[in-house]
Symmetry: C2
Subunit: 339 residues, 2 copies
Amino acid sequence: MPRKIRLTDVAEAAGVSAITVSRALRKPEIVSPAVRERIQAVVDRLGYVPDPAARALASARTNVVGVLIPSVTNNVFTDVLRGIYATAETTDFRIQVGNTRYSLLEEERLLRIFLSQRPAGLIVSGIDQTETSVTLMRQADCPIVQIMETGDRPIDMMVGFSHRDAGAAAARHMIERGYRRIAFFSARMDPRSQRRLAGFVSVVKAAGLDDETLLVTTPRSSSVTLGCEMTSELLSRTSNVDAVICNNDDIAVGVLFECQRRRIAVPDDLGICGFNDLEMMAVANPPLTSVRTHREEMGRRATRMVLDAIAGAPIAEPIVDLGFEVIGRESTRRGERPA
Amino acid sequence: MPRKIRLTDVAEAAGVSAITVSRALRKPEIVSPAVRERIQAVVDRLGYVPDPAARALASARTNVVGVLIPSVTNNVFTDVLRGIYATAETTDFRIQVGNTRYSLLEEERLLRIFLSQRPAGLIVSGIDQTETSVTLMRQADCPIVQIMETGDRPIDMMVGFSHRDAGAAAARHMIERGYRRIAFFSARMDPRSQRRLAGFVSVVKAAGLDDETLLVTTPRSSSVTLGCEMTSELLSRTSNVDAVICNNDDIAVGVLFECQRRRIAVPDDLGICGFNDLEMMAVANPPLTSVRTHREEMGRRATRMVLDAIAGAPIAEPIVDLGFEVIGRESTRRGERPA
DNA sequence: CTCCTAAATGATAGCGCTGTCATTTGTCAA
DNA sequence: TTGACAAATGACAGCGCTATCATTTAGGAG
C-alpha cells in the first residue's frame, strides 16, 4: 500500500506552500486561477484525498451532518433519509444517522455524542425534545433543522407540516363522504400520532360524532398485522362503525385484509383511510384513501437548509410547511345509502 | 458555552498524566484499579467526552464502521441496517452508511472515500464488486464483511445465504404443491435477483417445466404497483399459467391485489410465492407463501464479526450461512384438482 | 517613480489525542 | 538486602490539517 498522499506532498509537487493548497481546495476563489489549476492538476494526478480527521481537529468543525430519527425501518423515516442522502451525496458532507428508537432520553444521549463531535449541522425529528436537549441545541453553534412537523418556536429551522391539521382533514374527508361512525386506529403513540388523533377528535367532536369506543390505540409499533388485530378488536366491541381512519398506511392495509376475510364491503360497509400515502395504497383492492405527505422532499429540503446555513447563506424561510393532501380513493367512496 | 473539557483537564484533576487517562479510557486493564477509578470519577464529574477527530488523527484509525448498501428505502436493507445499528449502538463505534444505488461504480467511489478515512471496519453488500473495489478492499487494513449472500472467495468475511438455492427451493415448493406453469416475476435485476432466478430456472428445467414466456422482468425497482402491472402483462400474453414466484414480497402483494380485482382465485387458479417474508405476508388475504430470510440477524452478525475482528478476536467462521426457509401458506395451498 | 491599498501567498503554531520509548515503582527469589 | 523483571506511569513528538498573522506582489493614483 503506497504511503498516503498528504497536503504537503501536493504542495511540494505544485511548488506552493501547504496552506495555499488547503485554500485552493476549500476556497478556490481566493487563490489565483493559474495556481489553482496547477494545484488541481497535481491533486488529480496524485489522487489526493484530504484527511477529515485532521481537518476536523484543525478547524474544530467536522464535515458530518448528524440526523436523529426514531426508527431506521419505519417507511416514513427511510423516505426522509433517502431525500437527505440524495442531497448530501453531491457534497463533501457525510450523513451520520442516530436511531433514537422513539426515546427522548436516547435522543438526548445521542445529541450529546453528536454535539461533542462538533457536527457541521444537525437534523432532528420532531419538536418534542427534552428541556436538556433543547438547551444543548440552543448552545450548539451549528445549524439545526427540526423535521417532520411544524410549530412555532423552532430551535433554529423547521421543515414539516401540521399533523393536527392532517388528522382533522382526514376526519373531515370521512364526514364529507357520508361516514358517521368513524373509528381511529393508532399504533405507537408518538407525539405526531397524538396530534393527528387530536385533530381528528376536534373535528368529530365539532360534528357531534365523537365516541370514545371507536378509538383503538396501542403502544406497539404499527404493522399490517396490527391493522388486522385492531379491526378484530374493534368489531368484537361494537358493530356500530362505518369507517376507520388509520394513523399509518400499513395499519390501513391490515384493516383491508381483515375486511376481505370477514366479507365486510369496503367502502360501503366500512370506509378506510390511511396516512402517508405509501405507494401500495393506490393499487390495493379497492384503492385506499390516504393522506399524502412529502417525506422525501422533507429530507431534501432540510438538508439543503442545513447546507445553505453552513455556507453562510441567509435563511429565507426558517419554517417551511410542506403541507399534505387527502387523496380520496375508492375505499372512502361510499354508495348512496342511509348514513 | 463552557470551554470544552480536554484530556489534560481530566489528567490534571486526577493528578496523573494525560497518557494515563488515555489508557484508562481505552485499555482499563493496564491501569491500576485505584488510578482507574479516580480517573473515571473525574471523567464523570467533568463530563469529559473524547474528541474522535483527535483520536483518529493520532491513532490513524477512526471509530467509524462504514456500511455500503444499494438502497436506503428497500425493506431488505433497512432491516439489515436495524440489526447493524442495534449492535453498534452499545459500542463506541459509529455507523456511516453509503448508498450505492445499485451502481458498482458508485460503490467503488464510496469505497475510496470511506477507505481514505481509515475506517475501523467495513460492511459491504453482495459479492459482485468491481476488480478495483476488490483490490482496494484487499489492501485495506481493516476487517471487512460482505453481507446478503455467500460465496467462496470472500474478501475477508461473509454473512448471508445462497440466493440460488433460495430460488431453487421456491421453485421446488411450487412443484410439490402441484403447480406446473410457474411464472417468475423479477424487478431490478441485481445480482442476487439474478441468482434467485437462476436457481428457479435450473429447477423448472430439470422438471421439464421451463417456459421463457413465463418470465417477466424489468429494470424498474420493485413495488406493489409493479406486481399489479406484471400480472397484467403476463395475463395479456398468456392465460396458461398457474403460479407466480415473485422476487420480492411487494411484487407478490401486487399480484394478489390484481388477482382480487380480476377475480382470479388464489391459490386455486394462481399460486403466489414472494421473497423475504415481510411481516404483511402472514396476514394477507389469503396469507402469502414466502421465502423467509434473516435480514436483521444478518446485520447483527456482520457487525459483531467486524467488532470482534477489530478487537483482535480470532474469527471462528469467516463465512456464515444464515440460510432461509420456505414458509408455505395458503397462497400456494392448492385444492385437489387436475394440474 | 513613489506610495498606498488590496490581493495573493507564506510561516508558524497549534488542534487533542496516542505511539513510542523511557522511567519509576512494586514484587519476589536468592 | 539486593538484583532482576514485570507492571505502572510518564515525557515527548507528531498525526495532517487550518487559523492567524506576516509578508510579498500587483495595480493603480498622484
